[in-house]
């Protein structure tokens, strides 16, 4: 949770995705951090924990940096609470909450088909 993650998501309409993220996932507009992405155009958003930053870009991914982020993973501190809120807000739930070896996760999508995985990381080891 302490590590800052800068991820580029290639989307058709960055402004619409920005609206989706700020409205439903408590993301905020971080235009001032745009300098972190020298040479890239797009909109920067950050989550409420300050550890996930996302550059929403409508340019095509380069060969050197293929679009690996078909599903964008965000960390959350409470997956069930977020699932409950998003479900009530009418957001499309692609996969209901499920338990995996890394924690509890739910997958949602916006109107443009962009998929987001909300992951509540859980440390299952003894220590």
């Amino acid at each position: 949770m302490n590590e800052r993650k800068y991820v580029t998501a290639y989307v058709n309409e960055p402004q619409k995705v920005l609206k989706f993220l700020t409205k439903n996932l408590d993301f905020s507009d971080h235009r001032h951090k745009k300098k972190a992405y020298i040479g890239k155009e797009g909109v920067v958003v950050g989550n409420r924990f300050g550890n996930n930053y996302l550059l929403l870009s409508n340019s095509s991914p380069t060969d050197a940096e293929p679009n690996l982020n078909e599903t964008v993973v965000f960390e959350t501190d409470n997956c069930l609470r977020d699932y409950h809120q998003l479900n009530n807000a009418g957001i499309t739930i692609e996969k209901i909450p499920r338990y995996t070896s890394r924690g509890l996760e739910v997958m949602i999508s916006d109107d443009n088909g962009n998929r987001f995985l909300l992951l509540e990381k859980r440390e299952y080891s003894e220590i």
Partner: protein
């Protein structure tokens, strides 16, 4: 101090913070019970079950029990109670095939009346994480019935997973052909396990455990190893180390005091066993946990 929340589907959450309790009760709904500090003792039939923060207990509908708390510091407990209708519906949905569910989506058979082993279960993994969310919402001023329902559904789901792992899988390990004999042997082994958990910090002997479980020493030793994949002695050591870990995390007791409280005689052997089990010394573990 007591607090109760009754949800729209009549499932309930009940919490208490008390120093002294000694009461005989009948459980009117299936319940899952937790204690967050100190201990609580339940007597069900001839069994005495000592609950600690790293385990939890389930009680079936209709069971008569006595619960006892006797502590200088207030002991915080929380119980989640499910109505018969909810439990039956959940059981139906999780144990039936899609075909059966499609044929009878709204009416689980009345014959359903899931009865579970009333024993101590380890509080770990997702059950522990979800319990923290339940407790946080319950203690907050937010009254969100639907979210609490979501949590309780997952709490029951987590219990079913633990039940599968702790009861169904482990009973299958017994090398006994007759189902009735296997069930009886597994029940007695569970009684022995509960006895060890409840008396983990005392100087208990193999003979005491066997008398409690009504099994001969050789039969008990062999069957216990088969079921739990460790010897009774190793099992008690694991219980003590687990309790020590909890105390290191949640109290300011010195390591020496913890060693006495969990029933170890020797500090150096405790440190060695703790390091072997968790990969760090007790002192370093406390530093990591506090960070």
């Amino acid at each position: 101090m007591k607090k109760i929340q009754i949800l729209s589907n009549q499932n309930k959450i009940y919490s208490e913070s008390v120093n002294q309790v000694n009461c005989l009760c009948e459980c009117h709904e299936f319940s899952i019970r937790f204690v967050f500090n100190g201990s609580e003792v339940y007597n069900i039939g001839s069994k005495e079950l000592g609950m600690f923060p790293d385990n939890f207990l389930i009680i079936n509908e209709g069971t008569v029990y006595n619960r006892k708390i006797d502590s200088e510091a207030a002991v915080n407990t929380l119980s989640v109670l499910y109505t018969k209708q909810f439990l039956n519906s959940f059981h139906h949905s999780i144990t039936s095939s899609d075909c059966v569910l499609l044929d009878g989506p709204f009416n689980p058979p009345n014959s359903y009346n899931p009865i579970f082993f009333e024993t101590l279960y380890p509080l770990q993994g997702d059950m522990m994480f979800n319990l923290q969310h339940i407790r946080r919402l319950f203690n907050s001023e937010i009254n969100n019935d639907l979210l609490m329902n979501e949590y309780l559904y997952h709490c029951l789901f987590n219990f079913y997973r633990i039940y599968h792992k702790e009861i169904l899988v482990k009973s299958e390990r017994l090398n006994v052909v007759k189902i009735r004999t296997r069930n009886e042997l597994f029940k007695r082994l569970n009684d022995a396990k509960d006895y060890m958990i409840s008396n983990y910090n005392k100087d208990i002997q193999l003979e005491d455990i066997c008398n409690y479980a009504c099994l001969s020493e050789t039969h008990f030793y062999r069957s216990f190893r088969q079921t739990f994949h460790c010897s009774p002695h190793q099992y008690i050591i694991q219980l003590r180390l687990s309790q020590a870990r909890h105390m290191l995390k949640t109290t300011n007791y010195e390591v020496r005091e913890i060693v006495n409280l969990i029933g170890f005689d020797c500090v150096s052997s405790f440190i060695r066993l703790f390091r072997d089990k968790f990969g760090v010394t007790p002192g370093n573990f406390r530093l990591i946990a506090a960070a």
